[in-house]
Symmetry: C2
Subunit: 487 residues, 2 copies
């Protein structure tokens, strides 16, 4: 066994044990399987298990007790999860644009420590293989450079996407799929296909600011629905909202949401689809982080439960394979024709060269292997960041245990102000994403999102610690100010 | 001199003489310069001029008269130009979507003779050079594959675009430019930046159906302005419309319009900019065919006369260099920030690899040479198609003399029905673009647009002749039906 395979192997074992802990199978204080037993279960050598346990020990996930074995470390004081969100009841005009622009502008400044924007580490992408495949496609199929591409996109790619969707429990045909400029264009097209300016769109709270920006730019209104950091959107609250308000579409991330990292149980996805179908409301399913789930078994998409063609499944290869290609897609059910027309009108087709390269990679480039590496890396980075937050953020801070992806949602104690924290951090060369970006109703002032997509370095660790100190200082001042006020 | 250079040379000379005729410098019956004189003027050999004149003779553009020289052939009976258009006065909801979809679906069927969609011949694009440059960029800059691209786009490309714009009399900086997914996305962003659903957009009549589709998809209303087939939009009619209606934006193709091929005189462009600025109306300038002008000197863009930042200049490299790359751009003046935000929200950034490849081509790939080859080829194909239309279409047919590009607008005698003609032609494997696609007011029933972008082949020639015969038959029947009616 060569070193590289060995190194991948012990990390994989560590990641599996991490997953047991993340999922709650092993709780704080529980004994993890003995080295001998895990070696048997996983069919790996004793030394590989020892390496894995040492890695987890270094990350503060487990601890060795003399003559007894390894145990899951008790959660540090700050490691509790946030509670379900409580956004306001009515729909809102959205106005997050300027805040988001400032944060994004800062995020593309490479001198900053990038804890703000959610960007997957480019080092984790298979650049060399993509480059070889791309050059080969360009050589073999030069017409892909010189002919106009029109929707719905290359059949070769749509066929591969239909195959991938089988993993999600979806029976799609290539004809169901329209290729788009990334998931963002797909979401735009879906919203425009089913709703008009002024219409109400129900969505998770907190949610990805890009979705709020789309809704804002289309003149629609956002209706934020309470969302559990682990189980996703509240079906009870959504049902109530659908009765009270004229909801025109529902935009949800059932698998690996952003920023919470929640994942709806499959049964809840089914109920979500049924609930919306009963109200005649289309569901726009954003699955852009779905492939980065940490679960052992592949979760289903809500689309898998779609009997009436009312679920529009959107995703892309921007988080998992080729961020620079801007290749996304949508399977829009009964709205397919309308989406395809809007795609033509918005930007005609997608570069065929890039579509064909992705199709070849999916067919024989080892996409499964790529996904496994990403999941392992992100799970590791998430764990380290959680640990650092636990160690350095103020008492009472809560942090999510995401089901996948590479962001963490941090809830500071009441009184904290993430906008002020953002400014202080920026002055020290650190970018973060303050909570109000993720809401149309000025909620989450005491929250922030941390990007864990980058390689774990001392600089990242120091930056997280520093943000925690700044938050401590801020709360200290805040308490001091309150204390100084006359009663 | 090798054969290839020689062949390019006599075609260039023929093209120059054609341009003199197209522009009206030489009229029907005029004597063209003598062989000896032209040889002196152009500094080419006598035999090159003879080859050029023989080519023009074969194309039916000039004729030899014994002992006298070569003369511009009298126009055939059908060769008159259409008159200025006369669309209805008020704004219209647009509903061209379904017709356009049918025609476009037909256009992507490679078994058909493609006289419908306006597609530049892929054989005219520098596939081999693009492919080499692309592979080289991918090898040298692998991060362009694996990192997220965000607006406004790569500086290398924006710098080259600013240099190109100098030819159009525009002083742009790289900061003025936002890179987009083709010109279509640029036009969408501009319209969304300055107008809302329900707003009135003034534009040429007839105009490119894609613009009508954008307006339709955004819920805006189209106000069609009379347009001269040679001089472009009527400023008098536009001025009147701006006084009568609350025009929110004006979308015009001052250089090489589609479908008419008109080009506004530079003085008229200046007046257009001043007129709109006086009314506080932004001008969206679609220049996607501008680089394919047949003029000897480079025309100016309307943007060159923009003193208040109210002209939004849009173009792309899809018609001239790399149709498969989907790289367009916009210089949006005072609306730049808004356009950049909308770009992010609509589709994030553009693939950097493709941006960098185009930037390198513009810097040292011979873009000027590429443009000259295209102009020569299209001018030739336009001439041949005009000639074929003159020879085969019904008496009274009019056809444009475009200022550039690769489409012709054909006006059949009143009574002709281009929708029925489209159906008959489709049954014989020929696609055309019927006139009503180019209007929101069901005008141009007796018109059609012919794509001249393809290589001239016997199949193309036969197809044009056949469309002419079908039109003849239709008019014959139409006259017969009218004659058969009781008085």
């Amino acid at each position: 066994m060569d070193t590289q395979t060995g190194s991948v192997l012990y990390e994989a074992v560590a990641s599996d044990v991490s997953a047991l802990i993340h999922s709650g199978t092993l709780g704080p204080g529980d004994r993890v399987p003995s080295v001998r037993r895990l070696s048997r279960q996983k069919r790996v050598s004793i030394s590989t298990v020892l390496q894995a346990y040492r890695l987890l020990e270094n990350r503060g996930v487990i601890e060795a007790r003399p003559q007894s074995g390894y145990y899951v470390r008790p959660r540090l004081r700050a490691a509790a999860e946030p509670a379900i969100s409580d956004p306001p009841r009515g729909p809102r005009q959205v106005g997050v644009h300027d805040l988001v622009s400032r944060v994004l502008a800062a995020a593309s400044d490479t001198r900053l420590v990038p804890l703000g924007a959610a960007l997957p580490d480019h080092e984790l992408m298979p650049a060399a293989k993509l480059q070889r495949m791309l050059s080969s496609v360009a050589r073999r199929r030069p017409r892909s450079l010189t002919t106009y591409a029109v929707p719905p996109g290359r059949l070769e790619l749509r066929r591969q996407i239909a195959r991938l969707a089988l993993d999600w429990g979806c029976n799609l045909t290539p004809d169901d799929v329209v290729v788009t400029h990334g998931c963002m264009e797909a979401l735009n097209l879906c919203l425009r296909a089913v709703a008009k300016p002024g219409d109400i769109i129900a969505l998770e709270s907190p949610t990805y600011f890009g979705l709020l920006q789309i809704i804002e730019s289309l003149g629609m209104r956002a209706l934020e629905i309470p969302t559990h950091p682990r189980d996703g959107i509240s079906l009870e609250a959504l049902a109530l909202a659908c009765e009270r308000e004229k909801v025109k579409a529902c935009l949800v991330m059932p698998n690996v949401s952003n920023p919470l990292g929640s994942m709806m149980p499959d049964a809840a996805k089914k109920r979500l689809v049924q609930l919306l179908a009963a109200h005649g409301i289309p569901l726009i399913e954003d699955q852009v982080y779905g492939d980065l789930h940490f679960a052992r078994a592949h979760p289903r998409a809500a689309k898998a439960y779609d009997r009436q063609g009312m679920v529009m499944l959107c995703s892309s290869f921007s988080k998992t394979l080729a961020p620079g290609f801007r290749v996304g897609w949508v399977a829009a059910g009964r709205y397919r024709a309308q989406v395809e027309k809007l795609k033509f009108v918005s930007s005609v087709g997608n570069p065929e060269l890039l579509q064909l390269t992705i199709a070849e990679f999916l067919e024989n480039g080892g996409y499964d292997h790529q996904l496994r590496s990403l999941r392992r890396a992100f799970s590791d980075r998430i764990g380290r960041t959680q640990h650092a937050v636990s160690g350095h953020f103020p008492a009472g801070t809560r942090v999510t245990s995401p089901s996948g992806g590479f962001v963490l949602w941090v809830e500071l104690p009441q009184g904290a102000d993430s906008l002020a924290l953002y400014e202080s951090a920026m002055r020290e060369g650190i970018s973060i994403a303050p909570g109000p970006m993720f809401s149309a109703s000025d909620r989450y002032r005491n929250c922030l999102r941390l990007n864990c997509g980058c390689a774990w370095t001392p600089a990242i660790e120091r930056a997280i610690a520093r943000v925690g100190q700044l938050a401590q200082q801020q709360l200290g001042r805040s308490v001091a100010r309150r204390g100084a006020r006359p009663p």
